[in-house]
Symmetry: C2
Subunit: 242 residues, 2 copies
């Protein structure tokens, strides 16, 4: 394995994005490509490490910039403020996701017909919004991802499989939001799944979540992290056989 | 591999049970044991084939009789009538399950400290009721299993992990029943998970479901069958490491 990394820059939604591309240069041929959208804090260690792990498994991956200039925010309130304008306007979220998709599929290492998107927290919402936009992605996987959308009717545009992995006690994704998502997916005729983990809250995939000091809201959970990762890989094995 | 099979007989809840025990005689030492509880129709091809597959993977398994004398019922209404008296009285269900547990753990091939229970439809309910009884099982896995119980307060007795795999469109397990189960598990402090499969109804693991001719109620789903099986094996790998 010869793991390589390069910064890809592109414009999206009026921002200059700087995303991190990872691939195993020891592999021949075009690999399935995976977009990795970060938490609301923006591109940092968490999303980059997951993109790298996927590249080690043979995927070509893009850990995607969210806020422009590859910015990572430290503060939760700052992160929330940064994404607040995006929530009522999924076209802006989708524009950022689609530009990342274009940057990834433009690479010679990537098979543009074999693309999936994953994301964490708001990044999971981005993966879902990319799917709702009708982008030709084979799968969207969200981890502790917000499920709400102002455009539920767009679920009918979703062509790939959807998996969302949610903490049953996540205060940010309450049962009513899950029920609305279920209804949205059903009405859209989507091939979808929701995995609900008992005793688990927000940010369960991110060891850095514990630094927030709000364990009832956000807390790392090694078991749920490992399970959801395996369940994501199972989806990839379904949509990228052979 | 030298797969072997033997009928185990025992009394339970006033019935003479005849269950099917499977193990690989080519393996040395005591193996983790798995109870396999069948659908409401009773012990038939479906539960026996699953128990056999698990035995091929190195577990010692018991495909459990439900109605006594190893009876398999053909008719859905007959099956419903047979389990109707059990629903308001979980002690009878638990008595049948506990006797199966005793029969399994009495075998020299089985490690009595490493037991899990799985079940399909009413058999999933049996696995859950066995867990609610406080039986020392490391995991209970239910496939299209009824989640309702008249004794939700007994969830606090559950010592092992719980996974239930449910079709999102199963008419027999509506959203309110899932919500009540979620509440029960939370209040009981259980290590639990619920996997919800979109576009999937009842009996999704059983190819014979299609013979009922009621596809809106019961329908085989190869994808959900394969996924839920893998997700069950992942639970076994968690609770029976090494």
């Amino acid at each position: 394995m010869t793991l390589r990394n390069e910064t890809l820059t592109y414009e999206a939604d009026g921002l200059s994005m700087a995303s991190q591309f990872y691939w195993d240069d020891g592999l021949a041929g075009r690999r399935p490509g995976i977009l990795v959208f970060p938490e609301a804090f923006g591109l940092g260690e968490h999303a980059m490490s997951r993109a790298q792990r996927l590249a080690e498994l043979g995927y070509a991956t893009l850990a995607c910039d969210l806020h422009g200039q590859g910015q990572a925010l430290d503060d939760l309130e700052q992160a929330r403020a940064a994404i607040a304008p995006l929530r009522p306007d999924p076209h802006r979220t989708r524009a950022r996701a689609r530009a990342a998709l274009q940057a990834l599929t433009a690479r010679a290492e990537v098979n543009p017909t074999r693309i999936a998107a994953i994301g964490y927290c708001f990044g999971g919402t981005m993966a879902l919004e990319l799917a709702r936009s009708g982008a030709p992605i084979a799968a969207a996987v969200g981890f502790h991802s917000g499920l709400a959308t102002v455009a539920p009717q767009d679920a009918r545009n979703i062509t790939g499989k959807v998996l969302v992995c949610i903490g049953a006690d996540d205060p940010g994704i309450p049962p009513e939001q899950r029920a609305a998502f279920e209804q949205e997916m059903r009405e859209g005729g989507v091939d979808w799944r929701l995995h609900l983990y008992g005793g688990v809250v927000h940010s369960f995939t991110n060891p850095a979540a514990d630094r927030l000091g709000r364990p009832d809201f956000a807390r790392y959970d090694a078991g749920a992290d490992a399970r959801s990762w395996s369940e994501m890989l199972a989806v990839f094995n379904e949509v990228f056989p052979g």
